[in-house]
């Protein structure tokens, strides 16, 4: 009996040692630093999930081919373990557990979308695993006191604040009348908070405040109200579907408004799908290729755009660019920490202050990137070809803002 007990103890001790050693092996295998990511490769976010994955892979290849990561006098390379979260937040949380507990991943990359990042963050936080994420902009990610979450992108409430300021500026500094239509989801409602704050700050008045149900693809009633009340600014945010529905119905109903500001213009390929009907729409974006930020890995935005297209066959949307930037942040943090210890790397991440082709990156104590402003571009057409031109901040503007938007009867 005694011998049996000793044997069991012995075997379980060995098992324990083996399992713990496999964990410590998994974060760095040979000369490879293993990062983990659950990304939507199927389901409703699959297109943006693909952009995210391509952005990650593009940066991994670039960093590895340009000398890798130097830690403690040794050179390492990045490698990523991917799982498909099926665009499902429950699944994303499960996979984060699996990456951390089974695969022994000690450094995480974020998934696509605010919703999925929100699902994963409690898991990484509980296990004290640092995560650099590039696609979760919801403000609520930064109000929970997370210590291990770092976001390279601007928060959702910053998306359209600038547009309101711009409208007030164009109105001679006087307050404006605002009509809002926001989808009822975490991201769009955060964008709404930003607009509401900007309206308070500028003394502007909100005259329409519609919350669009997720399943809705008809905005006719909202637009009828806009026609009747004639606001100075119409703000719309409802992902790609919201952007495409708004432009289609604004053009059909000939709604004249001095400024139309929205989100997801590039994700929905607005200029391509709606052509001239989308002209003069003002759009918030995290990044645009014409910005003049630089780094040694990708050069500037134009170069990134060109090389990404050569490899993946399409122009990178900002979802890909910010994903690539996340890897640059990881590399920088490892080298500054000069250690593979996750807590030391976490502390180095918190002290990040750098410029990448995507923009400046510096984290607030809540993990939010506070060094990068949002960009506003306006859809402009020459003949039948429509393009996004940066109009704000003025430092990077490649075109002047057309304001007020010409009436439909004059187009």
């Amino acid at each position: 009996m005694k011998i049996k007990n000793i044997l069991i103890t012995f075997v379980s001790a060995i098992a324990l040692i083996l399992s713990s050693s496999s964990i410590s092996l998994a974060k760095v295998v040979g000369d490879k630093i293993i990062l983990g990511a659950a990304v939507s490769l199927t389901g409703k976010y699959s297109t943006n999930g693909e952009h995210t994955k391509n952005g990650y892979n593009f940066a991994v290849e670039r960093i590895n081919s340009m000398g890798g990561i130097k830690v403690g006098g040794k050179t390492y390379k990045f490698d990523i373990i991917y799982y498909d979260d099926e665009s499902n937040s429950g699944r994303a949380a499960q996979l984060a557990e699996r990456l951390i507990k089974q695969d022994g991943v000690q450094y995480m990359l974020g998934p696509y979308s605010s919703g999925l990042t929100k699902a994963i963050a409690p898991v990484t936080e509980e296990n004290k695993i640092p995560m650099v994420e590039a696609n979760g902009a919801s403000r609520s990610l930064f109000t929970k006191g997370y210590k291990y979450l770092f976001a390279v992108l601007s928060a959702a409430n910053q998306y359209l604040e600038v547009a309101i300021d711009l409208a007030v500026e164009k109105n001679g500094g006087k307050p404006v009348k605002i009509a809002m239509a926001f989808e009822q989801d975490a991201f769009s409602q955060d964008v709404r908070i930003g607009v509401v704050e900007a309206s308070k700050r500028t003394g502007s008045k909100i005259i329409i405040d519609d919350k669009l149900p997720k399943e809705l693809n008809d905005m006719a009633a909202t637009l009828a109200k806009v026609k009747a009340t004639k606001p100075d600014v119409l703000v719309v945010s409802g992902h790609s579907k919201g952007a495409l529905t708004a432009i289609r119905q604004i053009a059909e109903m000939k709604v004249d408004v001095k400024m139309l500001a929205m989100t997801h213009c590039d994700a929905s390929k607005l200029a391509k799908q709606h052509g001239k009907n989308s002209e003069y729409a003002l759009c918030a974006a995290q990044w645009h290729k014409s910005l003049s930020y630089k780094d040694k890995y990708f050069g500037d935005g134009m170069k990134y755009d060109k090389e990404f297209k050569a490899q993946f066959g399409y122009n990178p949307p900002y979802q890909a660019a910010e994903s690539s930037a996340a890897l640059l942040v990881w590399k920088d943090a490892f080298e500054r920490a000069n250690s593979l210890d996750k807590d030391k790397v976490r502390d180095a991440l918190a002290k990040t202050e750098m410029q990448t082709f995507y923009g400046n990156i510096k984290f607030s104590p809540a993990g939010q990137n506070i060094a990068k402003p949002m960009v506003l571009f306006q859809v402009r057409c020459e003949g039948d070809k429509c393009e996004n031109k940066v109009v704000a901040p003025t430092k990077w503007a490649s075109a002047e803002l057309v304001h007020p938007v010409p009436k439909w009867s004059e187009r």
Partner: protein
């Protein structure tokens, strides 16, 4: 007000067409098709595909029903015929499975981007542009009405139409009298899918398409059928338009967030009222 009513009527006619297919197939086969919305979206993608090939998406109303008829027919032969005489719950499960499968299939083929097809039909304006009617929506309403009337005529006059009606009344009796009910069921499911195809191609030019946006169409047509009652085809058209107008008004007056909620509230009220009326009738009978 005029704008909201007109928008509501045009929207309602389109929904009524989808509900029409659902009522037909529910009445004949006693199957609640959860995949109705997905069939609509699939029909929309047919029109979108034509648009991408450089053909005007308006022609989708001809091509899409033909393709969708065979899709429906195939689905019947593969899945539905195994559940047609079974419990209602099983058919709901089976069609739910079909809906998930078709969503993923469309996602796989067309990607998860939201897409639109441009008809470039322009806009008709009244009262110096205060009331606008997109010609694409007018086109959609006319096409829906033509198809609906066409179907009613077909049901009345043709041999298959009579067989379908006979099967709906009493499948066993129809079988004894020599109707091939298996064929009738397959045709009914096919016709339903074809109607969805027409509606889908109209949605491609009036709204947006996305592989996962089918469910609202299922729910809406389900509601219209419940309000109208099975086998009441003029009722379907009326309740479709009524709900459409009610929806637009609720949105216009109360705000968009109350739009869907108020439609459901109306549904509950109608059902309660009906129950009340029925129980009164029962009292008389007693």
């Amino acid at each position: 007000m005029v704008q909201a009513s007109l928008d509501g009527i045009l929207l309602g006619i389109l929904f009524a067409l989808i509900a029409y297919g659902m009522a037909l197939q529910w009445g004949v086969m006693n199957i609640i098709n959860i995949a109705q919305g997905e069939l609509v979206i699939m029909g929309g993608y047919v029109a979108y595909f034509m648009y991408m090939m450089g053909i005007h998406p308006g022609f989708g109303i001809i091509v899409s029903p033909i393709i969708m008829y065979f899709v429906g027919w195939g689905l019947y032969k593969l899945v539905i015929n195994k559940v047609v005489d079974r419990d209602l719950f099983i058919s709901i499960l089976a069609t739910f499975g079909i809906s998930i499968l078709t969503q993923q299939l469309m996602n796989f083929i067309f990607g998860s981007d939201v897409v639109v097809a441009q008809s470039n039909f322009g806009t008709t304006m009244f009262f110096e542009g205060m009331v606008t009617l997109p010609n694409a929506k007018i086109f959609a309403a006319i096409v829906s009405i033509v198809f609906a009337i066409g179907l009613v005529m077909y049901m009345r006059k043709s041999k298959l139409g009579r067989a379908i009606r006979a099967t709906a009344q009493n499948a066993r009796a129809a079988k004894i009298l020599g109707v091939d009910t298996e064929k009738v069921y397959a045709a009914t499911f096919g016709i339903n899918a074809a109607l969805c195809g027409v509606a889908g191609s109209l949605i491609a030019i009036t709204f947006t398409l996305h592989p996962y946006v089918g469910l609202p169409y299922t729910v809406r047509s389900f509601m219209i059928v419940i309000v109208a009652g099975l086998g009441n085809l003029p009722g379907v058209a009326l309740s479709g338009m009524g709900l459409g107008v009610f929806e637009e008004f609720a949105d216009y007056i109360l705000g968009t967030e109350f739009r869907i909620g108020s439609v459901f509230l109306l549904l509950v009220l109608i059902l309660v009222y009906r129950r009340f009326k029925l129980s009164k009738k029962r009292e008389y009978l007693k």
